[in-house]
């Protein structure tokens, strides 16, 4: 058996070791991707709303704080 094949065979435990590692990657990457996608969707919605809001509140002084947030 070649060295590489031996490595992938994991001493006969391949069916358990590789799924474990694979599942770990799937869950960790999945959570990360879900988080990033949700963040992007929300950022886009916020940008849209703020563009509308800027038009609607343009004539009111103080409306600019809406984009920078309240400073303490």
């Amino acid at each position: 058996m070649t060295e590489i094949a031996a490595f992938f065979d994991m001493g006969g435990y391949a069916a358990f070791v590789w799924p474990s590692l694979g599942l770990t990657l799937v869950i960790m990457l999945g959570l990360l991707l879900q988080t990033l996608r949700q963040l992007r969707v929300r950022q886009r919605r916020l940008a849209d709303l703020e563009a509308q809001g800027a038009q609607r509140f343009r004539r009111q002084p103080g409306a600019q704080t809406s984009t920078t947030g309240r400073q303490s």
Partner: protein, 213 residues
């Protein structure tokens, strides 16, 4: 004589600013009449004053002490009447009233309280058989059944007939004459001579999309 006052109250409900910068002071015998359109926070203010709700800014003081310093003491000196009547359907009118009066532990006067709101004849009728107006009268009878210095009344006259509204005004007048205070939110005319109006319309914060947590 102790002063009941609110300083610079800010109220936020469900992520929305309801009112900001509300102040008042109420001396013994005084009455405060809350007015304002729907959603301006009359009910929220009463819940704040009762201590059910916490303000995000400002303070509510009794005799200079914040009310949340001793919540038990504050609860003991107030009657709060919200939208709900707290009437148990399987208990009779008298049993309902007796429980709440006994819980407050002071000299209870069940009979006169029932009598004032013309409930004596219904004393043994279970709550489920009483009408909405009778429920309301039973809730109002709580005010008289055990003494408390401060009455917080949220739309007390809802569902009441003309005669009962008069009885309510009478009870409030007597309460104030004895040095009691009352804060009332109402849309209907309620006869309260010398009551100080407090409009919440002017206190609504501008609907600016400010950064909110």
């Amino acid at each position: 004589m102790a002063l009941f006052e609110a300083r610079n109250l800010d109220c936020r409900r469900g992520g929305r600013d309801v009112f900001a910068g509300l102040s008042f002071s109420l001396p013994a015998g005084g009455a405060l009449l809350l007015t304002g359109a729907n959603g301006t926070g009359k009910s929220s203010l009463l819940r704040l004053l009762a201590g059910l709700l916490r303000p995000v800014g400002g303070a509510i003081l009794w005799d200079g002490q914040p009310i949340d310093a001793e919540p038990g003491d504050h609860a003991a000196r107030l009657h709060y009447l919200g939208h709900l009547d707290a009437v148990k359907p399987v208990l009779s009118a008298k049993e309902n009233l007796r429980f709440w009066a006994a819980l407050r532990g002071r000299a209870a006067s069940i009979e006169p309280a029932l009598d004032h709101f013309a409930l004596s004849a219904l004393a043994d009728i279970p709550g489920r058989l009483l009408s909405a107006g009778q429920h309301r009268r039973l809730a109002l009878a709580r005010l008289l059944a055990s003494p408390a210095e401060l009455w917080l009344l949220d739309e007390p006259s809802v569902g009441l007939d003309h005669a009962s509204v008069g009885k309510l005004a009478e009870a409030i007048a007597k309460h104030r004459a004895g040095g009691g205070r009352v804060v009332v939110a109402t849309h209907m005319a309620l006869d309260m001579p010398g009551a100080e109006p407090l409009s919440l319309d002017a206190l609504a914060p501008p609907p600016l999309p400010e950064m909110v947590w």
